[in-house]
Symmetry: C2
Subunit: 450 residues, 2 copies
């Protein structure tokens, strides 16, 4: 929902070039709300409004713009203004945005960025997407262990505005090796003992991640240990930067969306849905649809194998979609439950025995229920009572097959080191299509041959 | 993977009742690691080890135990020890755990908890699960606006150990109304001006949530504004507690798992997979399977309608699962992509036109690809070239139907205020089963009647 409350006023202020009021608008509210009130403006208008805020505030409001609007601004606006903005946003966000601009433009802009910031950006650019290095910020509070609490507080009070987070203070030696950590909580508790040194207070048992570590792994550690931030180091424990809790929430959300996409047999999108080109979308979906298509072909061949038979008892054909659907649906449920339970750590592969027992029991329960539902229509469409019994019996067996395969496949995938989310719903359904046909015809032949 | 490194030593220390070494074990490592090293112990042994840590540390290590182990400990151990633990863990966690114990036991334990902590727990118990009140902690740093920075730092330095987070300081008046907020960052920046008052520093534009607000809504606000914590207030803006970033990560993970379950047509589990009774599991899956079953029945009736026809051209039956599967799979992909894109805010219902165009284009692309794949087998199984063309043409139409329905349903659900994740993959597949049969027979009749 776009908030149109201030739009006419904002446009008037811009038309009149009313500097005082525009500055007031930028500072009056939380930056996120300021950004929200500008959603109805064109990207260029919003950029003009931003120019009335101080560089730091400007960067903060900008960070709450839609990613698309951010890109539009960077693509269209003046090199010098863009460089000033890039200097004031966290280096990791800058790298993300710059990666979408043409090489040549990036060079022009970076040439106008002060050397220390440019160096930070250049270094972050070397880490591939999805690694810890690519989401870290270089603006961490680093102090020398020889400082006293008083000196530390004085130093921090000067740096506080510039740093992304000051809630952990990292203690480094002269060559930037990470020696320990002091929480601001501990620093504040030591307000009564201002002459103690940082070295006295620091905790040397610091959790760190390597810059090349997968971002999902980082998110798991931060979530597990309830951290506000985690330091990123190289192989020699040099301090490179930190990853903060808000980046972790983003990673968790991103990874959750990827899992959901895998479960629906879509190769995860790297970009947002609307920014992904149709051809890329086609490829990411087509490769899986192609694989599933071959499962469908096997089903066709299985049916071919039983064709003479199905011609004779042609009413059986009517229940094919129902029978294979029951297996596929219950299988999708099982695989999804196991995938999510493994993702949250509720079950491990070593619990497989308990899982299989539970799934067979649930399958029996669900199969009996669906079988009962199916018996009525079968009585109506089948020639006699004996034949009609084929449908419910098949459904019971097929649903148990569904829960069993649905639960086993993610366990198996996890065991052999694949992503369990690859056992997508359509994949489970495809396997159960073939199983369903085979079970159906065999149950039927038991009844009809006698 | 259970870490067995220290198990023999730990068991020996317990056997010898070696207090000094057990205390050393509890304090040497990060509490999360200490808990990890105890995973191989029986729950009762781990509890014994814990008794050698100071109450605060004991509570912290305990918080890293598996939820199951925590429950086992609470169920089996001595009332007095349990009460001491309950006093030292955050009130929101205490409420969660106590809700799993028998009423009578809870009364016994709470009688041994000091009155202020008991009051906190009692108050939190009144908020239903899933609300902001149920996940908040009451241990926030609240200060009077008349304090100077020096007084505030002194007061905080005494309270710091007890509070869950001290990174935001909430300014309240004498009747506990929330007046404003001061970040510790700001407090630290004011280290050079110790005589300013908290009232001077505070920001009065505070984001708050109502205690009865849905937890998912809270998580979205915290994620959007990159907050470390958000205050929870009642309708008169009395400060009740705070929700911290780590609880938000838990909510995000929990809600993601629920969405995934809905997409696979499972009513979200309230408990972990292994702790959910089979009958509950059966109900949460059965209700959706029942609904989908009726979609399957309609497919059976549709086939019945065309039966004479299908008897005549019996080779058409072979491709039924393939054709309806192609529609269902591409539909599941589309609905999942739109559901995840709406969840992350990438698309809104107002973008429907753009989405429909994209999906029709993608459907055409994917349908043509699958149609091409299907033409070969059709040539092999169909009696002649003209008949064989029925299969690819049907697939193109069915896949476009799939992408269209898959993308439209979540948009429609969102528009009318339902959860878009209710357009589960099996539901989309069920609709496309019927559509698939109708399209298939109609395309076939066009070719075969001439």
């Amino acid at each position: 929902m776009i908030n149109t409350l201030f739009l006419p006023e904002l446009r008037e202020m811009l038309a009149d070039n009313n500097t005082a009021e525009l500055r007031e608008f930028c500072t009056a509210l939380h930056p996120a709300k300021t950004a929200e009130f500008m959603e109805g403006l064109a990207a260029g208008e919003a950029w003009q409004v931003l120019q009335h805020a101080e560089p730091n505030l400007r960067a903060e409001i900008f960070s709450y713009f839609d990613y698309d609007r951010q890109l539009q601004n960077l693509e269209r606006e003046d090199d010098r203004q863009v460089a000033e903005l890039i200097t004031h946003i966290p280096a990791d966000d800058a790298v993300d945005l710059l990666s979408e601009l043409p090489e040549e433009r990036v060079e022009h802009v970076l040439a106008l960025v002060p050397a220390p910031d440019r160096r930070d950006i250049r270094r972050l650019q070397t880490f591939p997407e999805g690694t810890a290095g690519s989401i870290m910020t270089t603006e961490a509070a680093c102090l020398d262990e020889r400082l006293t609490v008083r000196q530390a507080l004085e130093k921090l009070s000067r740096q506080a505005e510039r740093l992304e987070t000051i809630y952990y203070i990292y203690v480094v030696d002269d060559t930037n090796h990470l020696r320990g950590i002091v929480t601001t909580r501990k620093l504040v508790s030591s307000f009564g003992k201002l002459d103690r040194t940082i070295g006295d207070l620091m905790d040397t048992d610091v959790l760190t991640v390597d810059a090349h570590e997968d971002q999902q792994h980082v998110a798991r550690i931060v979530a597990k240990y309830d951290l506000l931030a985690i330091p990123v180091v190289d192989s020699e424990r040099h301090m490179l930067g930190i990853i903060t809790h808000d980046d972790v929430i983003d990673v968790v959300m991103e990874e959750a969306a990827e899992d959901v996409q895998r479960i629906a047999a879509v190769d995860p999108l790297e970009d947002s849905y609307v920014r992904t080109p149709i051809l890329t979308l086609g490829w990411k979906r087509g490769m899986w649809l192609g694989i599933l298509f071959f499962a469908g072909l096997f089903t066709a061949l299985a049916l071919k194998h039983y064709q003479v038979w199905l011609d004779e008892y042609n009413w059986l054909v009517l229940f094919i979609p129902l029978v294979i659907g029951s297996g596929g649906n219950s299988g999708s449920q099982s695989s999804t439950l196991i995938i999510t339970a493994m993702a949250t750590g509720d079950v491990k592969t070593s619990d497989w025995m308990q899982i299989i027992i539970r799934e067979v029991a649930t399958g029996l329960l669900l199969g009996s229920f669906l079988g009962l539902l199916g018996f009525g229509p079968a009585l109506y469409l089948a020639p006699n009572l004996i034949s009609a019994a084929i449908v419910p019996i098949t459904i019971v067996v097929v649903v148990i097959c569904g829960t069993l395969t649905g639960a086993s496949l993610p366990l198996l995938f996890q065991k052999i080191g694949w992503d369990p989310a690859l056992t997508s719903n359509p994949f489970v359904a495809g396997i159960n299509d073939i199983l369903g046909i085979v079970v159906y015809v065999n149950v039927a032949s038991l009844f009809l041959d006698h």
